[in-house]
Assembly symmetry: C2
Homo-oligomer: 319 residues x 2
């Protein structure tokens, strides 16, 4: 027992020494900074960060602007920078407005990585988020695995860039990989389920042979599922939605929606912290001169992808 106690002490000393000598950061605390910080959507991202922290043996802190308010988020970010943490994982409410604060933090030696929403022209080391064009391709491939020929409709938001990208990835992938499916109508649902239901009802009236619908947002998905049910076409139409709430999961379990795509927010937190740790601990041995060489050890853009949720795995996604 005495040996074990000594050995434990000895190991602890070794580990302490190793951690002090390998790290140039003063703190071992990594901070996640969001906006609308109470939002359920961030929870999985922070869970990923906590998982990585457990593996790495470091501490984490969650904070953010409580409201959807850019001056509040700037204030919070500046306060976090003043704490001199080991690294910051930041989701960006406004890319231009936060750029100067991001660059100031990095100039002070604090690694900053963005997630979910980026400030691409700042000096942030990396961005982790959903590649919306690729996500649209996943929707197309799922639909094609269920039904390979017939008419298809899309419920989307033409005014929003991320929705346009999802739609375009979907359309291009059908054309290239599943030419039996033809897009016959695209509606504007304004992310409102009542609007989505009304617009899609009109499309189904004009195109009663539609076999598939892709909705680029969760409210749109719920709305088009209501429209197909009311038109008596639930059996005939395969619906693929995007994102989810309890309503989406209920409709998946009832068979009204066939699948939805969940964004991989867990990964953003998990790999975000692993990235920050790699910078903060200078593990980059063979390119110790990476700063002088102008080399970034982190990938500038990471597409964390989407997960297809169906009745098979929907239970894992209940909160």
């Amino acid at each position: 027992m005495n040996l074990i106690r000594h050995a434990t002490y000895f190991m602890a000393s070794l580990l302490l020494f190793a951690s002090l000598s390998s790290s140039f950061a003063q703190s071992d605390e990594y901070v996640m900074v969001t906006f609308i910080s109470g939002l359920e959507y961030w929870r999985d991202a922070y869970r990923g960060m906590e998982d990585a922290a457990q593996v790495l043996g470091v501490r984490t802190l969650y904070t953010g602007a409580v409201r959807y308010d850019i001056s509040e988020q700037i204030t919070v970010l500046e306060q976090v920078i003043a704490m001199q943490p080991a690294g910051i994982l930041l989701t960006v409410m406004n890319p231009e407005a936060l750029k100067d604060s991001i660059n100031r933090g990095i100039a002070q030696g604090i690694p900053i990585v963005t997630f979910d929403a980026d400030s691409p022209l700042s000096n942030r080391y990396a961005f982790l988020g959903t590649g919306n064009y690729q996500a649209g391709a996943v929707a197309a491939r799922y639909l094609c695995s269920q039904v390979s020929s017939g008419e298809v409709a899309i419920s989307s938001v033409p005014a929003q860039h991320n929705h346009v990208e999802r739609r375009q990835g979907f359309i291009d992938t059908l054309e290239n990989e599943c030419p039996g499916l033809t897009v016959v109508a695209i509606t504007d649902d304004r992310t409102d389920s009542a609007v989505a239901a009304r617009e899609m009802a009109a499309v189904l009236m004009a195109n009663p042979d539609v076999v598939g619908i892709f909705a680029t947002n969760a409210s749109g998905g719920v709305g088009v599922a209501q429209a197909t049910r009311e038109a008596g076409l639930s059996e005939q139409v395969t619906i693929v939605s995007f994102d989810f709430d309890e309503g989406t999961l209920d409709m998946i379990d009832e068979g009204l929606i066939d699948a939805t795509l969940a964004q991989s927010t867990w990964q953003m937190g998990y790999w975000g912290l692993k990235f920050l740790y790699a910078i903060a601990n200078d593990q980059i041995r063979s390119i110790a001169d990476w700063k002088a060489a102008g080399i970034s050890p982190l990938p500038p853009i990471v597409d964390t992808g989407v997960v297809v949720i169906t009745a098979e795995n929907s239970r894992f996604w209940r909160r």
Copy 2:
């Protein structure tokens, strides 16, 4: 001393136990599989893999098809799968031809990640490579930082997808972020410096006020630098190239080429191994049921970015 010897033994036992209990892979060896395996280009990727291996305390092995021969690469990959390694980092000579072998390896429980060239429709966990559109945007931003108005020419390969993407990212970014620069000519250099020089000489004859050239490949870059020198326009024209060989670096040091973009192959190896290790060692604690939930813990597409090489940092890139 005795205590230390005991403690060391104790620690080794503990570590051994930890590694046996946390890992479901039998091996701790990770294998990189390439084609034209003697190619200099892969060296930095394997160096990144070795760096990550040192951090993680695992072994690596480098192998590949010696020739540019798809049946040889299939054979090598099948042999590596038969070794039951802890993971495989694979660059893909032909996405369709290797798909079945990749899927077979993964079905046997061997994590496979692709790098530099992908098999997007296989079951590979992740792909790490250069986002060519984004790389074109980096070229545009660099050029714009040197000269903000005037005529610009592009030397490219219209028949090759990666070159088209680089060109498009360049053109779109100039339009959006640097409208003072206007593209007046695009040549086809067929990745041949003599062709590039001849084509660009004709462009410079017709457009003597050109202030910038983007070449989407290293041979093109060398060729257009020859053309501007022969036209006596080296001072006037800022040249941004892509990839590099010794000739490119020499011309950078002589001031004939202003910058080139190096692909981050080191990152592909470094993060590729970190990704494989995360799967093989099941570090994903809070989603231990990730396989049942259909969740991938790895990002499907990672853009490892480019590094701008100029006369300031060219010495770090000499091999």
